[in-house]
Symmetry: C2
Subunit: 516 residues, 2 copies
């Protein structure tokens, strides 16, 4: 059995590992393409029924837009406005939604890190926005700038993470008025991947867009000539979009920058107890915002987000990676394809530790993403406790799993050329031989199979001899090795200085209001 010493140190296996040149051997950076036909639990009549119900919500019940500009725009568009409540006809909604592109590309400061969303494309985002951070050595604690930076380094290090999304943990040791400045400076210097801006008031959004522009080295017009960064907004379910989310997203939309709209619809809490009802509400809330955005700037990229899960009806606790979550994601996938919109979901779990439960919940969430044809997978690495904890070890474990999906998508595995069918190799080996030695194997074995960096495939005796180290403890060793060898991506000195001076100036001006 695993003992305390080995859980801490990584044991003999850990020592052996230290002799290698780099922390791990990982897959190359790639645009992920999911070739599989999605799983579709709804038949055509079911899709129509969900669509019709979502349209009835928009037509008969309406959505509250807690932002006067948004309401004024929608009134001008012909919607029925009563106070903050906006009702919109299905013809208007469908006309607007049809203007959103089915696929688009976001290009960050390093154009080699551009990602394409929509269709069969898939991209993985780091864990975003937990208040707490955890690792096996220090336990759970409130997030700080050090752990924020560590997790950003892992976001950059792993090729299977495509997007530096929300803060991987909230660095609460930095005052909220200037947090976005320090965080984005770190994000733009420690990573060169697509970044995200929180829609938390005009100053923050404008600051982040300006900092991303500075990091790109481009002038304003060139920078905003195509998607460069994005924001994600959550509705205040049921049936509300709040002021800062709408303000920030409209700033993005006006500059042609993508917006992901993700209602957080826990069935039985802020959405109906039936999963289909929760999907109906989620789709209605999402389309209401996208209709507004397409009215404001037709063709701006928008993504349908889903965060429909269920609660534990005994306690009200949120649950993730459940059977109901998987089906809700698949149904929302069908609706996203019906509307021609890219889809965002998550790698979600409820477990408090990087243990078996965390992995089965995450695997359900990730298989749901795959078989729902999700394009943008939030929280793909590092999430625990329903999003309240960012875990160093879970981050590493998730990246091992993400790499396996990247390999799973490679068409080479199922190619049926004459050489793949291997009849001649079978003939050569015959009934008494072994395939290790034949040329057909020798020509292919180095690339034939996925090679994990975290799995231990030794037999029990060898594993025991090496300290009997369980997965989470092996992951503990891996993140330490990664942080020890981390090198930030290149950035011109002049750009780095311009970023720093922007941050200094904005700090001297007091940063952003904190009373939103």
């Amino acid at each position: 059995m695993q003992d305390r010493k080995n859980r801490r140190s990584g044991g003999r296996a850990g020592n052996a590992r230290r002799t290698s040149a780099s922390a791990i051997e990982q897959l190359t950076w790639r645009q992920v393409i999911n070739p599989d036909h999605p799983t579709e639990p709804l038949d055509e009549a079911g899709v129509q029924a969900v669509h019709n119900a979502a349209m009835r919500v928009l037509e008969e019940i309406g959505i509250e837009f807690l932002n006067d500009d948004a309401v004024a725009h929608l009134k001008a568009a012909g919607c029925i406005v009563e106070g903050q409540n906006v009702r919109m006809g299905r013809d208007f909604v469908m006309e607007m939604v049809a203007k959103a592109p089915a696929e688009f590309t976001i290009t960050p400061r390093n154009p080699d890190r551009a990602i394409r969303l929509g269709g069969k494309n898939m991209a993985f985002v780091n864990v975003s926005s937990p208040p707490n951070v955890m690792d096996l050595d220090r336990g759970r604690r409130v997030g700080d700038f050090e752990s924020f930076s560590d997790l950003l380094k892992m976001t950059q290090y792993f090729n299977c993470i495509h997007v530096a999304g929300g803060y991987p943990v909230e660095p609460v040791d930095i005052h909220a008025s200037v947090r976005h400045l320090d965080c984005l400076e770190a994000k733009l210097t420690l990573t060169d991947k697509v970044v995200h801006a929180y829609s938390l008031g005009p100053e923050r959004v404008d600051d982040v867009m300006e900092m991303a522009r500075i990091a790109s080295g481009m002038d304003h017009d060139t920078f905003f000539s195509e998607p460069r960064l994005y924001t994600n907004i959550n509705s205040s379910s049921p049936l509300k979009h709040d002021w800062p989310m709408l303000d920030g997203s409209m700033r993005f939309v006006k500059l042609g920058q993508p917006v992901v709209v993700t209602p957080f619809t826990l069935a039985g809490a802020m959405a109906p107890v039936t999963m289909v009802g929760a999907v109906v509400q989620s789709v209605a809330e999402c389309l209401a915002a996208i209709a507004l955005f397409q009215w404001l700037n037709p063709g701006t990229p928008c993504v349908m987000g889903t965060f429909t899960s269920n609660v534990d009806m005994k306690t009200g606790a949120p649950a993730f990676g459940t059977p109901e979550y998987v089906r809700a994601t698949q149904m929302t996938g069908q609706m996203a394809r019906f509307y021609g919109l890219p889809l965002r979901a998550s790698n979600a779990c409820a477990s408090n530790a990087p243990d078996g439960q965390a992995v089965w919940e995450s695997m359900n969430s990730l298989w749901a993403a795959v078989n729902s044809r999700v394009n943008l997978v939030y929280h793909a690495a590092g999430w625990l406790e329903g999003g309240l904890i960012a875990s160093y070890e879970k981050f590493v474990m998730d990246c091992e799993i993400l790499q396996q999906f990247e390999r799973y998508f490679e068409s080479a595995i199922t190619a049926t050329t004459e050489a793949d069918l291997a009849v001649d190799a079978i003939r050569e080996v015959g009934p008494d031989g072994h395939f290790f030695g034949v040329q057909h194997t020798q020509d292919r074995y180095q690339e034939a199979f996925y090679s994990p960096f975290l799995s231990d495939w030794r037999n029990y005796e060898a594993w025991q001899e090496a300290g009997a180290v369980w997965t989470a403890e092996r992951a503990n060793k891996v993140w330490k090795d990664i942080l020890a060898e981390f090198q930030p991506p290149p950035m011109e000195d002049a750009i780095r200085e311009e970023l720093a001076s922007f941050v200094a100036r904005r700090k001297s001006e007091g940063g952003a209001p904190t009373d939103f």
Copy 2:
């Protein structure tokens, strides 16, 4: 963090649990129906290419049948025989395979535990045949009759386990000559589910069939009028079927009892390094045996088995639940449907502990089973170390996961009646309310969501307060509670005595030869 004491005792959570009336609340016994369309990585030309290659193996290379009776039958059928090598034309193979039923039912001594295989039906089998057993208290050790019996009790206890397959661990404290007698007596009295007989020589097969008949209380003709038990044979890949497997399976076939044919084709070792090539060889080996069986007794139920995975090319160690394994299972699923045969696969993993790796490998294997439309999932609960360890804790963890799939398959989750669409509930709650209190929720909340027995969905503070118990340690507590409350299924005293006296007589005769 989890500490030693809590890992051992289950902590405060464990104490709280002991007050409940039964070990766990579990789902009811059910025939599982998988409604999803399978994932199909091969297009139509790909399926034809694999079929054609498998037929070329059978026509041009041939399979060795290390059993003279089998060879004589195939010679009589018109196959080309050279020594033990048998080549068969595709017309003969396809004509024979077409005689096997696409679906069939196996009815054990308790007819309520009948299972249907083929089509969309799915059934889960306990871990079968590891030499070693492991739990968190006692570590790994060689299997014995006590652990064999414990794992059988768990097989019976969990409603999500449908079949008492092979020995859940080899009880090596019982001499091989009489082991099958003690094992089957235990299996037939501790469980009332479908049982399996190893094809390990004529005496064992005949003894097991006779014992199953005695346990049923039926006469010979009634018992063998339909499928009552089954055997599973593995080819000696590459390209061989050995004597005891053929002898035993032919005894089953003559009595109309089902045979599962499962080549063990590790790509790069006993099969080609290309996954498609390994599938070709597996399909050829499987169909060769099924053609023989259909020649012997047309219409006897046969199942295509797949155990195609890859090795670690650095070490030669077998790997399971890999990306390559998932695709091989999906491709074999396409071939099984092409031939109209039910399909068997496994819940396989390579990990040496019930940890994160074990779960991600198992989840890949189980999602592969689901999206390949596998009918019979071997080793569904309890497998570790590539089948060399039967784990008490993994058994419990797997059953939690299997239950989640059973819930996932329920059509209620995706029903789109007016009540499911919930527009009226959305209207009633409006933008400022909460769904907990409304009638739509109150009418449904008790059955709305799957309720796990092993997941801990409490928040971190409550989980920490209860001892911060990780999943495997919670599972440790669960199996102890299950064994403490276990009650064997009912059996008439007369039948129990007849079984015991059969065992005593066969033991006095010396049991079965051990020189096979």
